[in-house]
Amino acid sequence: MEILIPLAILPVAGFIACYFVHNRKAQYIISLSAAVVHLACSYLIFAEIIIPAESDLFRFDALSRLFLLILSHVYFWILLVSYSYLNRPAMVKEEKSKKFFFAMLNIYLLANTLALISNHLGIFWVASEMTTLSVAPLIYYYRDKESLEAMWKYLFLVSVGIAFAFIGFLFLALSAGKTVLEGQQLLVSLFTLHAKQLNPIWLKASFIFVFVGLSTKIGIAPMHTGDIDATSNSPSPIAALMAGSLRGTALLGVLRVYQIMAPTSTAAFARSIMIIGGLVSLFAAFVFMFKVNNYKRMIAYSSVEHLGLITLGIGTGGIAFFGAMLHTVFNSLTKVVLFLNAGNIHKAYRSREIDSVWNVLQNMPWTGWLFMLGFFAVIAMPPFGIFFSELMILQGLLSRPLLLAAVLFLLFFIFVGMSRNVFRMLYSNSPNNHAAAIDDKFEITHFTSLVLLILLVILGITMPPQLHSVITQISKDFGILL
Amino acid sequence: MALRILQGLLPFLFILGLSPLLVGLINKQKALLTGRTGAPIWQPYYELIRLSRKETIYAKTASFVSRLAPVVVFSAVLIAGFMLPVGYTRPLLSFNGDIVVFAYLLGLARFFQIIGAMDIGSSFEGMGAAREATFAVFAEPIYFFTIGSLAFVSGYTSLYEIYLSIRLDNPSSLVFIIVSSISAFFLMVTECSRMPVDDPNTHLELTMIHEVMILDNSGVDLFLYQYSSYIKIMIYGIYEVLFFNPFGMQNQWLGFSLFIVLLLLLSTIVAWVETMIARLKMKNVPQYLLFATAIGILDLLIYTFVK
């Protein structure tokens, strides 16, 4: 339990401190230190240097460890850049929301951590509801019409979704009727142990509800809309945070239930549902890539695409599952790069419309090139990691030729649509031929993106043994032998 | 070996020496057929000598290309002449696949003649060059349909051996030979720019092909051009004639004399055709050539299925 001190108690302390301290720099330092400690711990746990004691409320199996690392990693980088982000000249309205920025981030960290390490689905539920609550005010950062609408939609939709998920969990409890688990707590470890005895009907029902409910948070079409609005209207660090870690947290919930179902006869059903979900989200991304005229929304759709691929991979199983796990890692890192640079572009051009952004490559070289590289990374160009993970997923799909064909078709046209938009931003000539006077110094966001891109390359080319072993462990937990 | 080389050189000398005579013959016979006395058969020699003496005039717009072109044309045609077996003496240059080299050497000549013509930038010569190039596109396949088809059925790829392989005992091959010689005749007419494709002695620029291309050449250049055109006629004449000479391989001398006779006969035919047939419209020439090609294909079909 003492492991919770750095992971959970520290953020709480951070929250309280940030709540009372009003100096922004102090807030920043406090939260940053919390984040650093958190990162360190989660890495130590990940590398199994610390092996925390399992309790029945919290567990640190491979899955949690992986997602925990992703979370604290993304969180750390976001926190790093957010100070300079807050110091940017802004409207008066924003100043109000800046007060609670770091406090809310601390809550966010706490909530996500709890959700990730929870072994009790009830706790998971409470925590993930908490993540929504913590992120909602941050979405409302700009305090304008759009962000208000986005916040409302996100809050409402996700709350309803999470309520659905809760119904799903209750069904899970229901499925334990007439078995040794009768009247037991909703402990994942326990349920996985006796999964064979669970009642298949309720299992299916619970999976449906959990999947549909959490889809609002993961961004699986057609429940992706609230997510899109939120990510596209929140400030870019928050958007990056959501795309990078929040979606992962929600995905974990689905994975937990799937983990319980994996050994049972209903696994096939769950898998096909996930494949359908993934395909639908790919399709949605494909459709909207051509409609979208707002680059932040475009990036959001690209993460809909990638989460779709991930669920598809999980559903397919085999090597694809492995690929999907890898994909979650790479995708979250890439999204951070993209959103941060998109934020810079937004700052410079004061618009989110693709048409009103032009010749970024010329006007702001650093941001432009980093954005371009991030884009290459996200469309699975080597040597960036996503290429390899996507290759694995596609390879796994080989057993379902038609599905593979469909996926490749969608992927190709998503690629076309996205690259068309991105290139138009990057080097279309200015509508009214005057060069923009934009200063684009090398700042911390660029540093972050650079580091993350290098990290992506390194992870992609030299698969670190810890990562490999952890993912293999996960696949073993899900009964997939590679 | 020395004898071999000597033997190889003879036909070369034959081509070099007698090609103007062949042209002279043709013109003479043409004149007779049209009821004129006509120039003496040695006329081409006189003209060549005259040209070689004259001074060479270059246009202001001419570049090194038009200085280079006639030379290249001449030498290419000359070397091509090395490969033909004149009356079944083994040519000096005879090896596997020389039929391709033969065709492409003439291609080299054509290339330089065209750019030489375009060098001046005169619209007339452009006209001629365009036509030359266009017709060449259709002429090339004909070559492969005639001699090439022989090569395919005989399995040899050297002109000498191909001609040696001709037997007239088999009736189907007789048909084969005759038909392909017809399209070969078309080819000759085109390549040497005679009637009905081109009129060697018209003097309206708009209607000429070969003559208009050398409009701006004079003196030595013109000499080279004329000479190489004579050689070309000779070459194609031989190329045509050798189809009908079964006796070559039995008896050297009989073969040779028959070869001469056939050559004379060919000159008569050319003359006769030129008097009888009017020039084609320029835009009909491709059809005419395609017709020749079609004959070639038909011919090969016949042979393949009769065999």
């Binding site: 057609p222 609230g226 459709v287 160009m381 080989l398 690629f415 | 005039i57 750019i115 393949t304």
Partner: protein, 654 residues
């Protein structure tokens, strides 16, 4: 000595890094040129050395034994390394003067330098890849770096569009290759090329593998009708890049096709016939389209399609040879194809570099506006002329030699196979001759219109830098050299074919004809030319005067024959199939007014296949507008609906 290649590769990387660090950019440029030339030279030596001493496949990077299995240096790879490096050296040299024009755009130049040196590196590593994933990685990296290189003039609309088309088309090709490699891996249970073997015994999979392989690589190589991206990509790329693009990169497609033949052996005969047909189709229509172009680079791009077609014909012959196990035919086919690949790399780079120089002096690519360059830069024109002769397959230059091999292949195949093959082969021969004729016409056209005659549009000075002369000179020399001494490379080609087919030594087949005769002939031609030139110089007196105007006052530039009118003679024959559009204002009245004639062609596979499909899909997308509702109640009801649907699935689930 085995470290040679490693050194070369590391030099490329050093060049890339240094070009970022070195200030000012001008220095960086010179450094880049030097070091990359050096590196390419080293790798060239490596390739030749390996090819001559017929190595067994051995470790390429002695320092990293763990990657030993990832790379493989077999004959084919080595030969392609030879091609790449041969083309690389002059192109790199020429970039020096080319980039001088852009030196004010520092970032763009640096980016170009980096991406170009990386492109060189990745292309070389690609051909050595022995592992499916590694191959794909380098394949994509090659595309990526080439794409980045194209962005040198990214402010131009056409560059943006063209590079985009290139990017997407190659990505599509890559998707086909994904499936290709997945299937192979699935079947052979390994990613290593050396383990890839699949025979028609394994049924449908075999044909699928072939299909996707040919789709992927064929698209890269630019076989018709998958060529539509080529005329987009080549014109807009910087000269050096488009030289490399069309000289080498599309050849990686050919490399891939050789690999397919290696993996899927034996290919059925009909496949060989299909390859032959498609290739002939590409050759004929490629050159015919080229004839209709007036944009010099686009024209050259279409010529690449033609030459790819010729190479394909060779490959087809080889395949037929394999299936009927006729070694001479295999040798002639593959040897011819490889030789032509090599030659094309040489003369196409030469021509593209030349076009680059021209485009810089005239600020246009439209040949109708040029003319009379020969009076400014005779040497330059001479080099370009040599390239043109070579590409038209006319002796005594290398282009003819490779076509000669293929011709021999026809005759040989016909003789060896009998039955109806003579007929087929004859048709092929005639077709190839036809292509030759068209090529001749096309290149006489561009040479005459661009260089000869008088200037159509005013041109004060035509600057050709020393480096350009060097680069083009090297290439021109190679054209002549391999034309007159083909023996010098035939041995290497034999060993390439041998190594790649792991069969007995094929040297004897190199001797199927007396090459010395060819040498004699061409030497003879040159000799006579020399002699006569000298004779002309000294014997006769010369005079300069006006051109023969036949009745009217001397020439004006506008009187000259234009490219459109030159090509019209033949294009009018095929104007329907090629979609050639003519716009003519012809003089009608007795006193003619302003009259002109222009013609241009539309590419069928772009206008009839690619664009319609794309537009159809994009238009279909608009029928999903109902998805983009904004009302939250719609979302929630959607959620309910989805839940219900899933439950229904659950209920009917077996």
């Amino acid at each position: 000595m085995d470290y040679l290649f490693l050194i070369g590769c590391s030099l490329f990387i050093i060049g890339a890094i240094a070009s970022v660090l070195i200030q000012p950019v001008r220095k960086a440029l010179s450094f880049f040129v030097l070091i990359n030339t050096l590196a390419a030279a080293i790798n060239l030596i490596f390739a030749i050395k390996r090819l001559i001493e017929l190595p067994q496949v051995s470790n390429l990077f002695p320092v990293f034994p763990q990657y030993a299995s990832m790379f493989r240096a077999d004959g084919l790879a080595l030969f392609f390394l030879l091609i790449i490096t041969t083309a690389a050296i002059p192109t790199v040299i020429s970039t020096y003067s080319y980039l001088k024009h852009y030196i004010h755009k520092e970032t763009s130049v640096r980016v170009f330098i980096i991406s170009f040196s990386l492109l060189l590196l990745f292309t070389q590593l690609l051909v050595f890849a022995n592992h499916g994933i590694v191959f794909l990685v380098f394949w994509e990296l090659m595309t990526l770096t080439a794409y980045l290189g194209m962005l040198l003039e990214k402010e131009k609309e056409e560059v943006q569009k063209g590079s985009f088309v290139f990017f997407t088309a190659t990505h599509l090709a890559t998707f086909f290759l994904y499936i290709f490699f997945f299937l192979l891996n699935d079947n052979c249970g390994s990613w290593l090329f050396s383990d890839f073997h699949i025979s028609s015994a394994s049924g449908t999979v075999f044909y699928l593998v072939c299909l996707f392989g040919f789709l992927g690589f064929g698209m890269k190589a630019g076989f018709m009708p998958m060529h539509f991206w080529l005329p987009w990509a080549h014109p807009i790329a910087p000269a050096a890049l488009s030289a490399f693009l069309s000289g080498v990169i599309i050849k990686t497609g050919i490399y891939g096709i050789f690999r397919i033949i290696e993996f899927c052996s034996p290919l059925p005969v009909w496949m060989g016939l299909v390859i032959l047909t498609v290739s002939l189709f590409s050759a004929v229509f490629g050159v015919w389209y080229a004839l209709a172009q007036h944009d010099i680079k686009e024209l050259l791009a279409y010529h690449s399609i033609e030459n790819i077609g010729i190479i394909g014909i060779g490959i087809g012959l080889g395949v037929i040879g394999i299936t009927n196990s006729i070694q001479p035919l295999v040798w002639l086919g593959f040897g011819g194809a490889l030789f032509h690949t090599f030659n094309h790399a040489i003369f196409k780079s030469l021509l593209f570099l030349g076009s680059g120089v021209i485009c810089h002096n005239y600020k246009t690519r439209n040949i109708e506006k040029m003319g009379g360059i020969v009076h400014h830069a005779p040497w330059f024109v001479g080099f370009f002329l040599i390239g043109s002769i070579a590409i038209s397959g006319i002796p005594p230059l290398n282009g003819f030699m490779s076509e000669f091999l293929i011709f021999k292949g026809f005759f040989n195949g016909a003789a060896a196979l009998g039955e109806y093959y003579p007929l087929l082969m004859l048709l092929m021969t005639a077709g190839l001759a036809f292509v030759g004729g068209l090529a001749l016409m096309c290149f006489t056209k561009i040479n005459s219109i661009m260089f000869l005659g008088t200037e159509r549009s005013r041109l004060d000075s035509f600057k050709v830098s020393r480096t350009d002369h060097t680069a083009m000179g090297i290439l021109a020399f190679l054209c002549i050299f391999f034309g007159i001494f083909p023996q010098s490379i035939l041995g290497i080609i034999s060993s390439a074919v041998t190594l790649s087919r792991n069969e007995l030594d094929m040297h004897p087949y190199a001797m199927f004809t007396r090459w010395e005769f060819l040498t004699v002939i061409f030497a003879g031609v040159l000799l006579i030319v020399m002699v006569m030139i000298i004779w002309k110089k000294f014997s006769t007196k010369q005079r300069i005067s006006d051109a023969w105007g036949c009745g009217y006052t001397p020439q004006t530039p506008r009187m000259q024959y234009t490219a459109s009118s030159y090509a019209d003679e033949i294009n009018s024959i095929a104007s329907h199939t090629l979609q050639i559009k003519k716009h003519a204002i012809l003089p009608k009245t007795m006193f003619p007014k302003k009259s002109n004639f222009v013609s241009h062609s539309e590419d069928f596979s772009e206008k009839r296949i690619a664009a319609p499909v794309y537009n159809y899909i994009v238009s279909k997308i608009n029928s999903f507008d109902f998805l983009s509702k904004t009302d939250i109640r719609f979302y929630i009801s959607l959620m309910l609906v989805i839940a219900v649907i899933y439950s229904i699935i659950a209920i009917i689930w077996p």
